[in-house]
């Protein structure tokens, strides 16, 4: 039994985990080129527009052919994505194509704001969609949410349930052997306040104490080997921190992780090859590391937008629209592609330049919210959503959907922009 004493409150064993899944949201920042990650290799428009910047369907560098594709097209994963191919073939991984944000912005930062706040018509909403999910389920755990990054993503904006850290054993306060603990006692009183600063300080003191009471291994010893290449070190560190936190059984329900560097305006082939290699192997290792948790683990991989169909003269691609998303987990109906393929002919493109969006990203997340996270309050998490249309990506029961925005409109003041 792990015990400890914090802020005058004695506590004992960790809380029993809920029956809800732990949801890991992996955000590919910079606009991942979905037409390279999961490529329609035999589409004539794709071949014509991309030239050398494309995944091929023959030869030594051919992509990895996917079974159960959309529209009978020769869809292939990038040749470096063999770990993802294994997960797909083992039916743990599902792929959704031509999905994304219905708002037509081509700005990275606006697109991320819209998506992560969960309000595609309002980039200034003061809370993130995961923040509102956490509010809706009101988790009863010490550490229900973590951002495996130095700071909080917008999806957790305004959350006081979430902590940010990239290292579980490093999640501790250093101090003088005698005066350090006394400082922390004093700070607990000083930070017992209601400003955003006071709340953050208090939460820092309390969650660090709770994690340290579990004596996390230092360094973390994973059950499998993770890739060690420099270009994926940040992602691997973050995924390891999440894996270790899940295994501490402190009731983690939500984790976010960022993987940046996808803004391939120039020299795309070399850059994206490493990015996809890193993503694929790191995600594969993470999933295998958590083999004991598959029955209640769901991972979603998304990006703010896809990239322009036609390559530019810097051997890169500019900001586009529709994109691919991945869903991974023990209750995923994997091994097949989801969505509606809109085609790449000029008149089929969004604004005649980019892959169209035929599946709203909120459709994917709503299904996970309802079936895996047992949260039917879609109107609260996604205030502008009008319907629930699960694609059948994950298993689970559908619940009566609550479309009311609830307190969303009254107690969430907008930030002044």
């Amino acid at each position: 039994m792990a015990g400890g004493r914090i802020g005058g409150l004695v506590f004992a064993a960790p809380h029993q985990p809920t029956t809800r899944d732990t949801l890991v949201v992996l955000f590919l920042r910079g606009g991942c080129d979905g037409l390279t990650l999961v490529a329609p290799t035999d589409d004539a428009d794709y071949v014509a527009a991309r030239g050398a910047l494309r995944v091929e369907n023959t030869g030594t560098n051919a992509g990895l052919l996917l079974s159960n594709p959309l529209a009978n097209i020769d869809f292939r994963l990038h040749p470096k994505a063999s770990a993802l191919k294994e997960l797909y073939d083992s039916q743990a991984l599902a792929i959704v194509h031509a999905c994304g944000l219905t708002n037509g912005t081509r700005s990275h930062f606006d697109a991320m704001d819209y998506m992560e706040r969960g309000t595609p018509e309002d980039k200034n909403t003061s809370t993130g969609w995961l923040t509102r999910h956490l509010r809706a389920i009101n988790p009863d755990a010490v550490l229900p949410a973590m951002a495996a990054s130095a700071s909080m993503p917008a999806s957790l904006l305004g959350s006081v349930d979430a902590v940010a850290t990239t290292s579980v054993p490093g999640f501790k306060l250093n101090g003088h052997y005698k005066y350090g603990p006394l400082q922390q006692d004093a700070l607990r009183v000083m930070y017992n306040g209601n400003s955003i600063l006071h709340r953050a300080g208090k939460s820092t003191l309390d969650t660090i104490a709770a994690v340290q009471a579990q004596n996390p291994a230092n360094p973390y010893v994973p059950d499998v080997e993770y890739p060690t290449d420099s270009y994926v070190r940040g992602l691997v560190d973050s995924l390891k921190a999440i894996a270790q936190m899940i295994k501490l059984d402190l009731g983690l329900e939500i984790a976010t992780v960022d993987f940046g560097g996808w803004d391939t305006h120039e020299s795309q082939n070399g850059v994206i090859s490493n990015m996809i290699d890193g993503l694929s192997r790191a995600l594969g290792a993470f999933y295998n590391d958590l083999a004991a948790y598959h029955s209640r683990l769901t991972v979603v991989v998304m990006s703010e937008f896809g990239r322009r169909l036609k390559a530019n003269r810097s051997d890169g691609t500019d900001h586009g629209h529709g994109n691919v998303a991945l869903v991974l987990g023990g209750n995923v109906n994997g091994g097949r592609m989801y969505g509606t393929w809109p085609g790449l002919a000029n008149e089929q493109l969004d604004n005649r330049v980019d892959l169209a969006v035929t599946t709203d990203y909120r459709t994917i997340l709503s299904e996970i919210l309802v079936r895996r996270l047992q949260n039917p309050k879609l109107g609260y998490v996604f205030p502008q959503i009008a319907s629930y249309n699960p694609l059948g990506i994950v298993q689970g029961n559908d619940l009566p959907i609550d479309y009311s925005a609830g307190l969303y409109s009254t107690y969430l003041p907008h930030l002044q922009k």
Partner: protein
């Protein structure tokens, strides 16, 4: 016993439940048993005590007061201090310049095929080197050598922030480097020539005319590579720079009409020649205008020819898209003279009222509050626009902001970012600082990425972004590290600095609170500081303990003051 969040965190979890980002707006607490429990606690809030205008200014247009600063500004008056700061004079900064001149940074790397191993303490030698010297460095075989100028500028930036007399210029340098963010890790040529961006492009214009600053940035090696314009050429152009020029550098995304996409005539005001904002097609067209703006880096440009390899900005007509264009409802004729298309775009965006608002609001956000008063932003915008052709446009705008009624009436509407926190601490305690790689590493761990923030947005400037568990933890752990002799970045003797007249625990606490904060803390915090210092003995007697224990206690008291909520506010 089962552990739950509510039982574990007690009252605070309920208080935490209302998700409100306004710094001092009380959260709405749902009526639960836990909430009632919470209300039984005394809750601290945004600072009740209002510091004097001098203390406010020294925390927001400087990196915190050093001993004697508050008295100096009181004596000369705030307006005179601001005017002094707006007219920096490097010949009057001997202490800081001497520290930079004598500073060294360790450099170490193994031998490569065409260079020997190095392991030495080396002066900051690249800060004022010329382009030809730095451009050669960009070809050095060792990454450590190519990256060295970034570390040297980092060291100088710490020293200037701590010791320079010209504090406002340092604050503005940080502002503009963040506004025109470049990640030095993006390209070795950016890193090797970094002093030219900081001291050549940004510094000369930081109080000047925005249009000049914009052009210096547009043509800099750093921005040319960071946002890929150096490889942008006719058919299709690379849109990276043009996109961020509109969205981040000038008009801002509040003036982005993304739903109009290509319907330029539907943008409000467009028919009259003054569109309220920009659309995607403006970005595409502006990208075409900047094709051919590049760096002479020896690249192959076809037909057996190469550009010169000097590192200078150049216009290469062979890559320019010379057809007609339309940007912000303005027609550009085909076959314009060299550079003119790009210059015309910069003129349009620099003069746009949306740019005035976007930048003035960011300045107010930096210097006053996360959510600055609309009245203040409007005053700044008026001055900005009235002086759009004035060589002192930015200086005049800053003067208006800093000497406004809103400036001195606002406190506790921002928190210090990690760099400000550590610098303010080192300034307050009179430390002897010798920047080193451990200091740089520690700062990076807080999330504050000096010169290597990955995205062109630059670092956020609102409290919510700097109050993650990680940032607070790393801030506090860095304070602790500064006390360690092995850390090596700072030395100080706090006990020796206490005046002989301060002998009781209360007097010692009062001395350090006054010196570090310049105003009284609330009763709850004060009580904690007193009992920390007195350790159970009467607070109006001298503290009791061994000599070593008292030294440790005073050290930790000062650290605790730097950890108080009060020391975090700006």
């Amino acid at each position: 016993m089962d552990i739950s969040r509510r039982a574990f965190l007690g009252g605070s979890a309920a208080v935490l439940a209302g998700s409100v980002l306004d710094i001092d707006q009380p959260p709405l607490v749902e009526a639960t048993g836990a909430a009632q429990h919470a209300q039984a606690h005394v809750l601290n809030s945004a600072p009740a005590t209002m510091p004097t205008a001098e203390v406010i200014a020294l925390n927001r247009i400087a990196y915190g007061p050093r001993p004697g600063d508050i008295e100096r500004v009181q004596t000369m008056g705030l307006a005179a201090y601001v005017d002094e700061q707006l007219n920096p004079n490097d010949s009057d900064d001997a202490d800081c310049l001497a520290r930079i001149a004598t500073a060294t940074l360790h450099i170490q790397y193994a031998a490569g095929t065409d260079y020997p191993a190095v392991d030495e303490d080396r002066p900051l030698e690249t800060l004022d080197q010329t382009l030809d010297v730095l451009w050669q460095r960009s070809k050095h075989g060792s990454f450590t050598e190519r990256y060295r100028p970034v570390d040297e500028v980092r060291a100088a930036t710490w020293l200037r922030a701590i010791y320079s007399k010209w504090q406002l210029r340092e604050v503005l340098m940080e502002f503009w480097l963040n506004h025109f963010n470049v990640n030095t890790r993006a390209d070795s040529r950016i890193a090797a020539t970094w002093p030219l961006y900081v001291y050549g492009a940004i510094k000369p214009h930081c109080f000047g005319k925005f249009r000049d600053l914009l052009e210096a940035v547009a043509q800099s090696i750093a921005m040319q590579y960071y946002l890929d314009n150096a490889t942008s050429r006719d058919g299709p152009a690379n849109e990276n720079y043009a996109r961020e020029l509109f969205e981040l550098h000038t008009l801002g995304s509040d003036n982005y009409f993304n739903d109009l996409y290509d319907r330029w005539q539907d943008v409000p005001g467009a028919q009259e020649g003054s569109p309220a904002g920009y659309i995607d097609v403006d970005v595409y067209e502006a990208a075409r205008a900047f094709t051919g703006w590049t760096i002479a880096d020896g690249k192959y440009v076809g037909s057996g020819s190469y550009l010169p390899d000097t590192g200078e900005f150049m216009y290469y007509d062979g890559w320019h898209d010379n057809a007609q264009k339309r940007v912000l409802a303005t027609e550009f004729l085909h076959n314009a003279p060299p550079l003119q298309d790009g210059h015309d775009v910069l003129d349009l965006v620099a003069r746009h009222p949306g740019t005035a608002r976007h930048i003035c609001k960011k300045l107010c956000q930096r210097l006053v509050a996360d959510q600055p008063a609309e009245s203040l932003v409007q005053q700044a915008v008026a001055v900005w626009l009235a002086n759009v052709d004035d060589a002192a446009q930015i200086q005049k705008t800053l003067r208006t902001i800093i000497l406004s009624a809103e400036f001195s009436a606002t406190w506790g509407k921002k928190v210090k970012r990690p760099f400000e926190l550590q610098v303010a601490f080192l300034r307050a305690i009179g430390a002897e600082v010798t920047p080193n790689s451990s200091l740089f590493y520690r700062l990076g761990q807080t999330g504050y990425a000096m010169f290597d923030w990955p995205t062109p947005t630059g670092m956020p400037d609102i409290a919510a972004a700097w109050l993650s568990t990680n940032t607070i933890m790393q801030n506090w752990n860095t304070l602790y590290a500064l006390y360690s002799s092995s850390f090596g970045a700072a030395t100080f003797d706090l006990r020796a600095q206490i005046p002989a007249t301060a002998t009781t625990s209360r007097q010692i606490v009062d001395y350090w609170v006054s010196r570090m904060l310049g105003y009284s803390v609330d009763a709850s915090t004060y009580e904690q500081l007193l009992s920390f210092m007195a350790q159970g003995e009467p607070v109006d007697q001298a503290p009791v303990g061994s000599d070593t224990d008292l030294t440790n206690r005073i050290n930790n008291l000062v650290m605790l003051i730097a950890m108080t909520p009060d020391f975090q506010w700006r």
